[in-house]
């Protein structure tokens, strides 16, 4: 059992260490205590994470822990990093457009009018709620980025996206300092998403109205699409008409933060 003579040890320890069974019992107790400490630690960690905005709205359910770890790590490590931008010769030719659901009557009517009546309304926790026409958006300083759009299905393409940084619009309407999310809606009522302020104020988050030096084609989300190059394509909502700034996602749909989350997809799609 043991190489050392029993006399070398205090009697109490000798008693504890009498047989392999006792040894494994001691192991069991230590492991149990460590597990209990671990669970308590997790509880504290959860409170802190909630406080610092590291918990995604889809944190419930059996996949919630993994999702929270992913989102929290990304927020701690990559809040300010910039998505890769590509040289002009890397732009995908011919440009690719995903298939989409048939467009509704309302969209066709606006399209027939050259989108002159297209509006983007911004409300919620802002000092000056506003509604912008496309021409108004285009009158702001325009920016462009050559970034990749990656679909969760596996395909991808690179395009030049032209638009106004969302942060510019959020400054114009003056976002309340306690705001935490921006919820944005497509003209298609089944597609809405939300992002946290780190992404909303990120310099590459655009309200895009142009692509590859031209107007944004309808097939790619024209006349107005949100571009969020650090997350998968489904967060870059097409045909955007409405935005709400908020401090809680509870009042929107099922409270999961997006139509994708309600359909079972991750809310945070930066992976």
């Amino acid at each position: 059992m043991s190489e050392r003579s029993p006399g070398e040890r205090p009697p109490a320890e000798r008693l504890l260490d009498q047989s392999p069974r006792d040894r494994s019992r001691r192991k069991l107790i230590t492991t149990g205590l460590a597990a209990a400490a671990g669970v308590a630690g997790l509880g504290v960690a959860a409170r802190i994470a909630q406080r610092y905005g590291l918990v995604p709205p889809d944190h419930g359910g059996i996949y919630g822990l993994g999702e929270t770890l992913t989102y929290a790590s990304q927020r701690l490590l990559t809040s300010h990093s910039l998505a890769r931008e590509f040289p002009r010769n890397q732009i995908s030719k011919p440009p690719f457009a995903n298939e989409m659901a048939p467009l509704k009557e309302e969209f066709k009517r606006l399209q027939a009018g050259g989108f002159a009546d297209w509006r983007l309304s911004v409300n919620g926790m802002v000092a000056r709620p506003a509604s912008f026409s496309l021409d108004q958006l285009k009158s702001y300083p325009s920016r462009s980025q050559i970034t990749m759009l990656q679909c969760e299905e596996g395909w991808s393409y690179v395009a030049e996206w032209i638009g106004v940084p969302l942060s510019h619009i959020l400054q114009a309407v003056e976002v309340h300092p306690l705001a935490r999310y921006v919820v944005y809606f497509s003209i298609d009522p089944d597609w809405w998403e939300s992002i946290d302020m780190a992404d909303a104020l990120h310099p590459q988050t655009f309200l895009a109205y142009g692509m590859n030096g031209d107007e944004l084609p309808v097939g790619n989300g024209g006349p107005l699409r949100l571009r969020l190059p650090r997350q998968l394509g489904y967060k870059s909502v097409k045909f955007i008409t409405r935005m709400t700034v908020t401090d809680s996602l509870k009042g929107f749909g099922e409270g999961l933060g997006s139509s994708s989350s309600e359909a079972g997809y991750a809310w945070y799609a930066g992976i």
Binding site: G66, E99, E152, W155, P229, A266, I271
Partner: protein
């Protein structure tokens, strides 16, 4: 895989760009060749499961590798000795497998040279590669660490490599489980869980 059974090399890939190879899965849509006709879209929950499992792999893997270095497990049990690194030693093992021999009792106590090399390959090559190629597909991760994807030749290259490395891991798993069955399922499983080989009375 089902949702886009086409694989590419380079940065981007879609139905309009040249394909490296395709999996023979019938397409349900014309423009984006998704295999949802074979299996309806399961990407929501399966992606959640995938990334949750990735955390389990990364965290337990780190614990395993760190403790393996400290305890000398890799050096003592996995690094093949000089004698183990000869063709002859490998051939002995392979020949035994080809004759479908059950491993001898002595093998219950230590890994054979072929086993040692495959375990080291899985632990230090395949797992790091599958994690790296996976992270290289994350648009947010590569915004912070662009080299992760640039070194692999692009995001679609990372996806293709991720596919092959995960196939290699799957192959390892299948062979591993098959060998456990051949070596005697109950005995081997008991040995894995308790760390004791053979009968319970030994080694006390």
């Amino acid at each position: 895989m089902i949702s886009h059974p086409r694989f590419y090399w380079g940065e981007t890939g879609n139905v309009l760009t040249p394909v490296l190879f395709k999996l023979p899965i019938p397409s349900s849509r014309a423009l984006v060749p998704t295999g949802y006709g074979v299996l309806p879209d399961q990407n929501g929950w399966s992606r959640y499961l995938h990334f949750q499992a990735a955390w389990v792999v990364v965290l337990t893997g780190l614990l395993y590798v760190i403790s393996g270095f400290f305890s000398g497990h890799f050096r003592k049990d996995l690094l093949p000795g000089k004698a183990g690194l000869s063709w002859r030693a490998f051939w002995t093992v392979i020949a035994g497998h080809l004759r479908f021999e059950r491993p001898s009792a002595a093998e219950a106590w230590s890994y054979n040279p072929l086993q040692r090399l495959s375990y080291l390959f899985v632990i230090f090559i395949l797992f790091p590669l599958v994690i790296w190629t996976g992270l290289a597909m994350s648009p947010s991760f590569v915004s912070a660490v662009p080299a992760a994807v640039n070194l692999l030749g692009g995001q679609q290259s990372a996806r293709t490599l991720h596919f092959f490395v995960s196939l290699a891991l799957l192959l390892f798993l299948l062979v591993h489980v098959a060998m456990v069955f051949i070596a005697g399922f109950r005995g081997r499983l008991r040995a894995m869980i308790t760390g004791r080989a053979g009968t319970d009375t030994e080694r006390t």
